[in-house]
Symmetry: C2
Subunit: 193 residues, 2 copies
DNA sequence: CCTTATCTTGAATGTATGTTCAAGATAAGG
DNA sequence: CCTTATCTTGAACATACATTCAAGATAAGG
């Protein structure tokens, strides 16, 4: 006979950013309490425990990413030019010291791999969906004769996500925008040649 | 008037493997105590604190990796064929569920980036040295006319490490050996074309 | 407007954490 | 072989952690 008061999206985005910044283990309930403006009781009532909140935040992250992805690839440009632009967006994300500097999914799976199968399964399936979405776009581009390739859309998508993961990791070692953009360009060239 | 008793390399390799498995934050002193067979007093006397032990373990890791790298690239094969073999070694490492499944340097920098500048600086410099070592080999290959490229050895090396980081991350989402080997082949092809 | 189901609050709990330290053990120097 | 410097041992410490729960607050149903 009473409805919850807090804004779910606000809470999940705040939690999501905390997990992106500090990692899963180092994001304490104390910190989550602060950033979400929720008391422990409310968090545990709504999400069960820290892992539950993390998984909910992951879901929100995936939703937000999907929306960004769909918005980019649903405009009327050619798929290849959109893809080139998409890579530039990723490079920019890697540079600006703010949010989205890292991918929550890859960062988290790297952290918990081998230690939390439940979280890993969820993250893996999200990342596989991402790869599949890229494969779909590449298949469309092939169907439209935007480019020709000896490889399948699936193989191309795999190479592309590998490159994206690689750029994001490389950005941790070298923040030079020119180097990162060059990597993106080389990756794109390797894909369409 | 008394010499330390424990075997430094044994201790550092055990610590190194623990950090690789559990990550920096989740590797407790309790765990480190167990795997190194050292009592807290000894650890703190020898390495100061957990971070000191981690940095020493990192140094050991880099030494071991350097030795593997040098052994591979100092045989009498062509550099390109050695590189191709090296990529296969990395793919194998990603598959077998044992040690070396992940790179301690990239896993750790991904975890602590933005939160521990001291550790980041050390890891970054190690990873930069790795990139530089690959650039040297590629420069030699170019000098030997093993292949021709419109890109500099430095640019090629950057692309190569990006690919290696990417393969290692991709392996967290997909353990299929064929897919991983295909990525390595595609990466090699993109490099020399 | 009263009841009641549900949400919010925040103090309390037990455990695990990184670290310290004093007592005991032991190898090298004279 | 005794002295002394250094290492080893493991109990103790304070703090930080994830989680619980009972009391208080509040919105909806009758």
């Amino acid at each position: 006979m009473r409805t919850a008061e807090f804004d779910t999206e606000f809470v999940l985005r705040k939690a999501m950013h905390a997990f992106m910044q500090y990692g899963y283990a180092k994001t304490s309930m104390q910190k989550l309490k602060e950033v979400t403006h929720l008391h422990p009781g409310s968090i545990y009532a709504a999400y069960g425990n820290k892992k539950g909140l993390f998984l909910a935040a992951t879901e929100q992250y995936q939703k937000d990413r999907n929306q960004q992805f769909t918005a980019l690839f649903n405009d009327q440009q050619s798929i290849l030019s959109t893809l080139k632009h998409y890579l530039t967006v990723i490079v920019d994300e890697c540079i600006e010291g703010e949010v989205a500097k890292v991918c929550l999914l890859t960062k988290s799976i790297s952290e918990v791999e081998g230690n939390d199968p439940q979280i890993c399964t969820v993250l893996r399936s999200n990342l596989n969906a991402y790869e599949h979405a890229l494969a779909e776009q590449l298949q469309k581009a092939l169907d439209n004769n935007e480019f020709v390739s000896s490889k399948s859309a699936q193989q191309l998508a795999r190479f592309l996500v590998m490159g994206i993961y690689g750029i994001r990791t490389y950005a941790l070692t070298n923040q030079d925008p020119k180097s990162l953009q060059q990597l993106a360009d080389d990756l794109f060239a390797a894909l369409v040649n």
